[in-house]
């Protein structure tokens, strides 16, 4: 019994989200930049047609931006996150099971629908009407094949954004046309190895003997081969597995040269980490602080540091985490030539996460009975009055380490002062 699974994704999702509120972006080249306004991470079709590649640094394309009037945006994750949530809500009206794979991709359980193509078309129309972003949908018996179908639908307008590949004869006809490097989970290195063996298309890979696949790319490639043959190896995960670790890391707007500035950034990251832990009802057992200089400037003095400490007791309290982060940062701070380093990235990692109720309690833990209430108050204030309304003072007031986001669009859907205006 083959169980149909669909993957729905939005091409150029960030650009599509920007276009909802700004109609002047329609039919013109638009790009969205990565954190700190570094490189292009989303491009409208018009920008792609101008030859702007994924990951191109902004300073390489200044001329093109000028000549063609390309509209440039800093990434506005507040907006994209809200739009993504709304898209998922529409999916939930069309299938009982949704697996969120990324901000713009979801696997949808398509078991039990009579006319899958019609159902997918209706879903596509609903997302476009209700939220305003276009999506493409691929349907197949396995996730890997569904990804292929989605890709084909994306590249060939003839499918009108929906391709149902449950029919084996259709898959047989289409797979020779999918380059092996485009398959989900096949990296560049593996692609090279496969081409050396004469495996160029998805169909070639599907017909590769299993043993050979395992020899080339371990059990991962073996699973991809089976998936291409229509045997589902990747389960539908409608329940997100519990996080095992999390990281909060950012590039600095301007390089950080003194401990106080670095510690401001680390305090902010540790506070955010603590907030995320509490959101998921978790506590952390270890905390790692890391920071380093700009690796792309080998002409400047280089320094990379990382320190880890155990959290005893395990905690999600902002004060505990910032305190631990301070010890780590102090231990990792360079002991000599301090003035010569410019740190461009800092972050924290939290590991050994367990649910708050399951945390080990030692006999001699000093009970801090007010901590949960204080943290709840902190989270409530920040939720009600906006992020970062109440922070630890060591985050600093004059935050030079903050990201550059010179071209960010308004946070249309989450801030009163950013509401879109109709005249």
């Amino acid at each position: 019994m083959k169980r149909p699974v669909a993957i729905s994704d939005s091409a150029n999702f960030y650009v599509s989200a920007e276009r909802i509120f700004d109609p002047t972006l329609k039919n013109v080249p638009v790009i969205v930049l990565s954190n700190n306004d570094g490189c292009a991470i989303a491009r409208s079709d018009e920008a792609k047609a101008l030859g702007i590649k994924m990951g191109t640094p902004l300073h390489h394309i200044r001329d093109k931006v000028e000549d063609h009037g390309i509209r440039v945006f800093s990434s506005n994750y507040t907006l994209y996150g809200d739009i993504s949530r709304r898209v998922v809500e529409v999916y939930e009206d069309f299938t009982p099971n949704v697996e969120i794979y990324s901000i713009d991709e979801c696997f949808l359980d398509f078991v039990g629908f009579q006319d899958r193509t019609a159902h997918a078309m209706a879903l596509r129309a609903a997302v476009l009407r209700r939220v305003g972003v276009p999506v493409r949908i691929g349907i197949a018996p396995t996730k890997t094949l569904a990804k292929c179908a989605n890709d084909i639908a994306k590249k060939n307008p003839i499918f009108a954004g929906v391709l149902d590949m449950m029919d084996e004869s259709l898959a047989r006809w289409l797979l020779p046309r999918v380059p092996v490097g485009d398959i989900w989970g096949v990296g560049r290195k593996t692609t090279g190895k496969l081409k050396a063996l004469g495996v160029y298309s998805a169909a070639d890979l599907r017909d590769l003997p299993i043993r050979q696949a395992r020899a080339v790319g371990t059990v991962v490639l073996e699973r991809i081969v089976l998936e291409l043959q229509g045997e589902a190896c990747l389960a539908f995960e409608d329940v997100v597995p519990q996080r095992k670790g999390m990281a909060v890391t950012r590039s600095a707007g301007t390089p950080m040269t003194d401990f106080d500035t670095l510690f401001q950034a680390i305090t902010a990251h540790a506070s955010r980490g603590a907030e995320k832990l509490r959101q998921h009802g978790l506590v952390a057992g270890t905390l790692t602080v890391f920071f380093h200089t700009n690796k792309h400037r080998p002409d400047r003095p280089q320094y990379t540091a990382s320190r880890t400490t155990r959290m005893t007791p395990m905690s999600s309290d902002t004060f505990d985490l910032v305190e631990a982060a301070r010890h780590c940062a102090e231990a990792a701070w360079p002991k000599s030539d301090v003035k010569s380093y410019g740190f461009t990235k800092a972050g924290i990692m939290l590991n050994d996460l367990v649910r708050f109720e399951d945390r080990p309690q030692t006999l001699f833990d000093q009970a801090v009975p007010k901590s949960p209430a204080l943290m709840k108050a902190l989270d409530d204030v920040n939720q009600r009055f906006g992020k970062k309304t109440m922070v630890l003072a060591c985050e600093g007031m004059n935050q030079t380490w903050r990201l550059r986001a010179d071209h960010r669009s308004p946070r249309y859907t989450t801030r009163m002062e950013d509401l879109p205006v109709v005249r």
């Binding site: 002047t24 709304r86 209700r130 305003g132 249309y412 859907t413 509401l419 879109p420 109709v422 005249r423």
Partner: protein, 144 residues
């Protein structure tokens, strides 16, 4: 099997132990306890489809007669039915505008609703698009 004698329990002097901190009311239970309801939420009443409703701020008075003023905040539902006579948000020549949807003959128009000032009707063409239907309006007044 060896047997160890137990002399006396171990004492840790400075450690205090909290037993319970839940307050227990000693008087009568509230007679309203069984009849509590959620507070009314007019926003939820205005926003019938949260997924497809977005808030916009209005500039200008071209929908004055429809009760929408300069500075008002309006809820716009992208899933609302586009019916003749309804206030809608439309995109015309790259600009977003709030108007009443009208039909004359077999042509559709975007008409203002303001008897004091003259705003022109705009014909709805192939290139224009109805963004959504106005679901409600929110306004507040000074208290200070």
């Amino acid at each position: 099997m060896p047997v160890y004698p137990i002399d006396e329990p171990v004492h840790i002097p400075s450690q205090s132990v909290r037993i319970v901190s839940t307050p227990v009311s000693a008087g009568f239970p509230s007679p309203a306890g069984d009849d509590l309801e959620d507070e009314i939420d007019p926003m939820a009443w205005v926003v019938r489809h949260p997924t497809s409703t977005f808030w916009w701020r209005v500039e200008g008075d071209c929908l004055w007669d429809a009760g929408i003023r300069d500075g008002d905040i309006i809820a716009v539902d992208r899933a609302g039915k586009r019916r003749i006579g309804r206030a809608v948000l439309a995109v015309v020549e790259g600009a977003v505008t709030a108007k009443i949807l009208r039909k004359r003959g077999d042509r559709y128009y975007l008409a203002p609703a303001n008897s004091q000032e003259q705003f022109p009707d705009v014909e709805l063409t192939e290139d224009s698009e109805i963004w959504g239907v106005i679901a409600g309006v929110v306004r507040r007044y000074d208290l200070a």
